[in-house]
Symmetry: C2
Subunit: 615 residues, 2 copies
């Protein structure tokens, strides 16, 4: 219904960013071509942040004026649900496992705080920041550790952890260390996405198990039922939205509001009088409006703790920074992935600095620390993207009139602005008021199990690891002969996927133990593993086919110091210069990073809204 | 795994039937071209039966020798489950609603009896005969009616109903009245299939509701859960079997044994120690081996009843005959549908005579009367069909090497024989023995709710009515321009579908009342409605596009006296002869009945195993 009007509303006046980068910023942010001491990132503090702000500031006014379209409204409603529901879901878990320290009010406050800060000040307001399952995992693991010594210091200890984490954030931002994110490839980001998906599914199951052990069999079975049917409802509505049934406008409403419809229906279902009501399933635990869940003031008295704990908090703070370094930046990358026709630049250094600030404030107020939401990150951009379903008629050589018709969904424009993020934040603040808190308290925990399944499965279903496994087990003759994966030995594909799965399963395993806080080390270790070890195990061609830079958009790479030179490409170039066989097909050198990969081509066949939660 | 060997095992010695019909039978069975008194079916009794036997007898020996292939084994196992599980499901319902008169032993006995008779004596041994949901509906509706007067006469009254029904069966067979089945078109057979699908889903829900009211909330919710997951398991396994993942042999095992895997798993699941076992869901009620459920002798003392009731039973018997006339013959037609490359002839008159015999015996022994199973009917033929998945490479005009690859599944041969039906019958008899009855008694009712959903949904999902509705609501530009439905006005499609839905909903509504036994009248009334009224509302071209003869196979039509001349075709021909515009496209006259229709073409795109339970 709005396709006709929106493309025009995207303000094109500053020109397509990638073409006018030099013009807008004056100089390019680049260490690779610098000389002498200028090569060292640490020696030129704040350079990244400076360029980030300089690059984005000219677009600030258009970030407000571009917002006046229907897309923004749809985006606000969708993101409110997609942000709030998982946040509450993780909070239910965290609430139970941190001695009821972090509750619904803390989660809402943290989400609202992050939304305000990033929508107003963020270099990339498309990246939604909120409560993730991983910070919940972190918080309750720290709780388990502190419990061994003296649980009464938990609030102060968490506060110090946050203070140190904030300091590490600021150092990373100041020293331009976000640049290393450009080395992140699908190898680690797919592993991370799969890990997150599995953790979410596990969380959903744990929530159901809790219903059984806390409340008994009847609410347990009903919770299981509602969770499965909630999953089916959202999944089915989004599938219908991707079909060719109904008018495009109706399909769009179904896809935009699938969470809304499913949540309203299943919350109501749980309150049906009779057997459903009498099953007494559990609901969201809430306290008074704007009050902390525990009887305390919002401000944590962080000085009321032994000095030794301040130092113990240092490694914990470092690990949180490491988690956010990976998690937040990857979520920002996926929010700006290549399939979205973005025109405005982002800024990783500046946003990471801001994240340090929100971490600091969250620590002082005893809130869970917000950061970029990985599986939901692309949903915001997706909800702002104008899609046009076009008909592709493929003429075949089978004679007169023989043809195949396919719907091709093109992303024609993205409504890049700050307003949707900002209004969503206001809505979160509204949710903290009395009347809406009462509404929240009517929501059964079962719905959140369903949310866990939807979000988790969304991260698994389209994951490149899963796609490669399906490719290996598929009958080859039905796959297009141009498929690049055909040129890689099956053994090598399995080795590559096996290494990824090893990383994923190590993380999943460690997450179930008290060593869970160590998993960011594992995840981050995948980056050097990819850069230094994989080129020794795979040829440049094989890596070219199976792997790809996660940051592949020029506007994105500008903030990270330009595209990196990966070792296998450097090695191939050197051998090529010496006249040796490179194991690298001749045309690949220039094509590198531009060819579309297996999973993308597959998605291209159906609806291309790849960024959506569960596609 | 067996594709290589089977095509050779189909005995082609009697030649393809349709080409050698005259040779095999001597004369053709045909009233349309007869003269004088010979035109009247009633005046030439047993002619149909005589031709049926004469036509099929030469194939009898090959019906045994053709059976020695793996397909037969897969078919036996699949049909055992596909026949037994729904039969038990309907019996659970019937057991409760007929004062526990018809129980598991009666159902098994009736199924085994029918399998023995039709596998040994049937003209078309592919048609599986057993307990349907409709006879269950009939039996408990009669119970409700008799209950108003004197419930003690129920066994005798049912016996007399069966005796009269048998007599009507024999009259129909002797007077060659099965011929009118050739006038059955998709208009009524799709309506019937949709009606059956809806009734099955309702039965599944009723079974769940019963679990709640009889046993309480905890078993109720668990039953709902198992039913939904059982449905998902069978559905998912069959979908996987239709994909291109794994080797063809693995896919085949998944599709062949989807019921087996799902049933074994979910029966086991219901017995897991702990919360699942403690939920105390209900199981199949069984009594001693080979004993009637009630403390009675097998033989019903049908003379111990007031004479007036014998006469009251006449209309009931007639309605049962009417139900079976439609139900059994349509199930036989779908078992011999065009998508199966059958070479041996069937025989409707002879089989209907046999059905009279089984009805008679079932009545005397107090069994539910068996007849052809509508949604499961094509499954037997499907399980015996040798499919070969071929690669179709469609060259496109988009340049060098541009192509689209599609898996095309071809039915290359059907292992037409009697052995699978016979051995399945032996297996049913085996199930009546003590040890296997004990196994049956461990099966939770929840599994049968799942069976209801699978079988019911299978009848709905691929139904032509549903397909036409989807067509109307789809965006037209994505549908192939050659699609014949494009040539019919949307208004006319909706009118056509609306009439079908009116029939379906009337039947569903009446089935919920004590007038349920009248629904065969409604269903059968759709045939004359189609033949006499529809040609006045739709043009010949519209009917040609939207409707089709259900009996479209020449080998099948031979037993029904040849293809009928439908009124709209006759009218068009007459007008054509008078030189008027016919509203009928010139090429259609000769093509009539040969062109592939919308739903078939759609199915052709994916796996063409259209006969399977839920495709």
């Amino acid at each position: 219904m709005q396709q006709g009007t929106e493309p025009a509303t995207v303000d094109e006046s500053p020109g397509e960013y990638t073409l006018t980068r030099e013009k807008t910023t004056g100089t390019t942010y680049d260490f690779d071509n610098a000389r002498g001491w200028r090569k060292y990132r640490v020696l030129r503090p704040c350079l990244g942040m400076y360029h980030d702000v300089k690059r984005r500031l000219p677009f600030y006014w258009s970030d407000i004026t571009d917002a006046w379209t229907y897309r923004t409204i749809a985006s606000i409603i969708r993101m409110y649900f997609v942000n709030l529901l998982p946040a509450l879901a993780y909070t239910l878990d965290m609430y139970r496992r941190t001695g009821e320290f972090f509750g619904v009010n803390e989660a809402l406050f943290a989400s609202a705080l992050a939304a305000m800060v990033f929508s107003i000040l963020g270099a990339q307001p498309l990246t939604i920041v909120g409560i993730t399952g991983l910070i919940s995992l972190f918080n309750y693991t720290i709780y388990d550790i502190i419990e061994i010594y003296d649980i009464s210091i938990y609030p102060q200890f968490m506060c110090w952890t946050a203070i140190w984490a904030a300091i590490f954030h600021w150092l990373v931002a100041v020293w331009n260390i976000c640049d290393y994110m450009r080395y992140v490839t699908d190898f680690s980001s797919q592993s991370f996405a799969l890990y997150v998906g599995i953790i979410y599914i596990i969380k959903g199951v744990e929530e159901i198990v809790n219903e059984f052990t806390q409340y008994g069999s009847t609410p347990g079975f009903l919770t299981t039922l509602i969770a499965i049917l909630y999953f089916g409802t959202v999944y089915g509505l989004e599938k219908l939205g991707s079909s060719t049934v109904f008018k495009p406008s109706i399909r769009e409403v179904l896809a935009d509001y699938s969470y809304v419809f499913a949540t309203l229906f299943w919350v109501g279902f749980g309150h049906f009088p009779g057997r459903l009501k009498e099953a007494h399933i559990s609901h969201v635990p809430t306290v008074g409006a704007f009050e902390p869940t525990q009887p305390r003031s919002w401000f944590i008295k962080f000085w009321e703790i032994d000095v030794k704990w301040v130092f113990v908090a240092i490694p914990f703070g470092f690990l949180i920074m490491l988690l956010f370094y990976y998690d937040h930046n990857v979520s920002s990358l996926t929010a700006q992935a290549r399939q979205f026709p973005l025109k405005k630049p982002g800024g990783f250094h500046w946003d990471f600095f801001l994240l340090g600030c929100t971490t600091f404030v969250a620590g002082l107020l005893g809130l869970p620390m917000p950061n970029g939401l990985v599986p939901q990150a692309p949903v915001h951009t997706d909800s702002l993207t104008v899609y046009e379903t076009e008909l592709k008629v493929i003429k075949t050589e089978e004679g007169e009139g023989a043809e195949i018709r396919r719907p091709i969904v093109n992303a024609t424009a993205v409504v890049e602005q700050r307003v949707s993020h900002f209004v969503m934040g206001l809505a979160l603040i509204g949710t903290m008021t009395g009347p809406l808190l009462t509404v929240l308290s009517t929501m059964p925990a079962a719905v959140f199990c369903g949310v866990f399944f939807v979000v988790g499965w969304g991260s698994i279903e389209t994951n490149g690891i899963v796609q490669k496994i399906i490719f290996v087990f598929s009958e080859k003759r039905f796959i297009h002969p141009d498929e690049p994966l055909h040129t890689v030995q099956k053994r090598k594909i399995l080795l590559y996927v096996g290494l990824q799965l090893l990383g994923v399963l190590s993380c999943v395993a460690i997450s179930q133990t008290i060593a869970a806080i160590g998993f960011p080390v594992l995840i981050c270790a995948l980056i050097p593993l990819r850069v230094y070890c994989l080129p020794k195990m795979f040829s440049a061609h094989e890596l070219h086919v199976m792997d790809d830079l996660t940051a592949d958009n020029k506007a994105v790479l500008a903030s990270l110091g330009g595209a990196p030179l990966l070792p296998e490409v450097r090695m191939a170039r050197e051998r090529h210069a010496r006249g040796e066989a490179t194991g690298y097909l001749p045309h690949e050198e220039e094509e590198y990073g531009l060819e579309r990969k297996y999973s993308e081509r597959r998605r291209g066949v159906s609806r291309q809204r790849v960024g959506s939660v569960h596609r």
